[in-house]
């Protein structure tokens, strides 16, 4: 069974630029999560999708972050404009029901 795929693996941008991350969940998984993991901290949920609907985006900075899940499968997370404090690893996870989540390798973002 293929795991959660993410791209790119690394991204370096200047502040105020925009960036987008892509996630392909495990086939058949209805739930998809985006997490932000700052160095030395645990993952923090940004947004949770159930199929292509948003379940929870309470911690998503909506003035600069946006996310969508097309046709209930792939998802993109966008940051525009980026700030220095957005430097982190962005993790995508998927699950087929409550509780169990399978994480991708993450995208390491550096904002200069």
């Amino acid at each position: 069974e293929a795991g959660v795929a993410q791209s790119p693996r690394y991204k370096i941008i200047e502040k105020r630029q925009s960036v987008a991350f892509w996630c392909n969940p495990i086939s058949g998984h209805a739930t998809l999560y985006w997490y932000q993991q700052i160095l030395g901290q645990g993952p923090k949920l940004l947004i949770q999708f159930q199929n292509n609907g948003v379940v929870d985006d309470s911690q998503l900075p909506k003035d600069r972050f946006s996310a969508e899940r097309l046709k209930g499968v792939d998802s993109t997370l966008k940051i525009q404009p980026a700030k220095l404090e957005d430097s982190a690893v962005y993790l995508c996870a998927s699950g087929d029901w409550v509780d169990t989540q399978y994480f991708g390798p993450g995208t390491r973002l550096t904002v200069l």
């Binding site: 739930t31 929870d56 996870a93 409550v98 509780d99 994480f103």
Partner: protein, 114 residues
């Protein structure tokens, strides 16, 4: 407000020793408590999980102990091996109100010395 507090931040254990990582939570609605293992450059991977209807769960060398009244749970790694060196995260979720949404601790970096 940090709902899941994890300690210690780092831990060094000799090969063959016991590694113990502790977590405390505040939200009594939490009903699922997983532990994740993360290697550098990888995403977290589920290691073992417990629900509050049992006080202990064991899988191989890994054991979760759960104390509902104290709102604490811990991970014990028996016969620790150098390959166990990784960052460990506890998490907690409330299945009823936020299906699958997990609140994570800040992690414990475990180093097992050969």
């Amino acid at each position: 407000q940090q709902q899941v507090k994890q300690s210690p931040q780092s831990l060094i254990v000799q090969k063959g020793g016991i590694s113990i990582i502790n977590c405390a939570y505040e939200n009594t609605a939490f009903d699922y408590f997983p532990w994740y293992q993360q290697f550098p450059g990888k995403g977290p991977a589920l290691l073992i999980a417990i629900r509050p209807d049992v006080s202990e769960k064991k899988e191989g060398r890994f054991t979760i102990s759960f104390n509902k009244s104290a709102k604490q749970f811990s991970l014990h790694i028996m016969d620790s091996q150098p390959g166990d060196s990784a960052t460990y995260f506890c998490a907690a979720s409330d299945s009823d109100t936020n299906a699958g949404k997990s609140t994570f601790g800040d992690g414990t970096t475990l180093t097992v010395k050969p």
